[in-house]
């Protein structure tokens, strides 16, 4: 192999290594811990009623995270529910006991899917206000987030 060919092959190999490294890096979740993002609550002017909250759960750890209970000072009860729409277009809602987020996975709550039910709100929830929601993990840890009230 001539010197120029050797240099060419080395450059090509280095480039491929960079590309592969970059790809592998991109495939990793940005987070390296369990994080809560983009939490929001639908506004409800009436105290004592029920409204929904949505959160994005990012599990950047190598362990499965199980949320076994939810709570908030702004509601009597917080339940995990899941809406689903069947083939005929009917929407069903089921109460779920736990939310499981696999290692290196993201679970996005959104209308028509997973959501938290804030039942028995303790006061009027007006747009712009913040609601604190706590996630009780199965290992005993508590992680909380502030959810913005939106119309």
């Amino acid at each position: 192999m001539t010197r120029s060919r050797f240099l060419g092959a080395s450059a090509c190999a280095a480039f491929m290594l960079c590309v592969m490294t970059a790809c592998r890096h991109d495939a990793r979740p940005v987070a390296t811990s369990f994080e809560l993002h983009d939490a929001w609550v639908r506004s409800d002017p009436d105290s004592g009623s029920t409204t929904a909250a949505y959160i994005r759960f990012v599990n950047g750890t190598s362990d499965t995270v199980v949320v076994s209970k939810f709570s908030s000072d702004d509601a009597s009860v917080v339940e995990l529910h899941q809406s689903s729409i069947d083939a005929s277009g009917e929407t069903h809602m089921a109460k779920r006991d736990t939310l499981v987020i696999a290692p290196s996975h993201i679970v996005v709550m959104r209308p028509g899917g997973y959501h938290l039910m804030l039942i028995g709100t303790t006061h009027s929830l007006q747009p712009g206000a913040m609601v604190r929601i706590a996630m009780h993990l199965s290992d005993g840890a508590i992680v909380s987030t502030s959810a913005r009230v939106k119309p």
Binding site: T50, A52, E79, I85, G89, E90, M93, P111, M117, I119
Partner: protein, 203 residues
């Protein structure tokens, strides 16, 4: 020579006019490609007579001249129903002046908990122009059957009480009273607005 020029020019104008007329005719005859699922052929919408919050009646047959969006839900529904009403709010805003020719009708299929006043207060939170209506369970079941949908109470063990399984779609009736379109949950505002504008134009 002069005569030839005049003939040639006349022929050109004639052909151009013919071409434009054909194009216009073709465009006019071309069926509108709606974003929503279209009922083909369109047929007269089912009979819908409900109680409104003012103690009067809402009759779908009386809405001729307006495009009507119809949804079956309930006020204790915290997810799909308020999302649809929020979507409608955006649709109404984007329609601008045309919104006055569109009726947004939220039908409660949970009359046990949604009396007309409760229902009206809930729907008005999203827009006071939205129409809230309901009836007794027998009438509601009959109306839903005519739209080929149904609702049912379900116990989930939730502290909020029972939930109601209900249709997630929005039905669209045109200004002639024909059932024309069906939107799945999570409809894109710009698509709905484009379709409604076509229907208001007489598509």
């Amino acid at each position: 020579m002069q005569r030839f020029r005049a003939d040639s020019s006349f022929r050109s104008v004639f052909l151009l006019t013919l071409g434009l007329a054909s194009a216009a005719l073709a465009a006019g005859c071309k069926p509108v490609a709606f974003h929503g699922t279209a009922y083909e052929p369109p047929a007269t919408a089912p009979r819908v007579i409900l109680n409104n919050a003012a103690g009067g009646k809402f009759d779908l047959a009386d809405q001729h001249g307006s495009v009507v969006l119809l949804f079956f839900g309930y006020t204790h529904c915290p997810d799909v129903c308020p999302t649809t009403l929020s979507d409608w709010k955006r649709v109404k805003a984007e329609l601008g002046g045309n919104a006055s020719r569109v009726k947004f009708v939220f039908v409660s299929v949970d009359p046990a908990r949604d009396d007309p006043a409760t229902l009206h207060a809930y729907v008005s939170r999203f827009d006071p122009d939205f129409i809230a209506a309901t009836s007794d369970s027998t009438t509601l079941a009959s109306i839903e059957k005519s739209f080929h949908v149904e609702s049912a109470k379900e116990q989930t063990g939730s502290a909020s009480g029972y939930v109601v399984t209900h249709p997630s779609q929005t039905f669209v009736v045109d200004k002639d009273g024909d059932l024309r379109l069906l939107y799945s949950f999570g409809m894109k505002t710009s698509d709905v607005v484009a379709d409604i504008r076509e229907l208001l134009r007489g598509a």
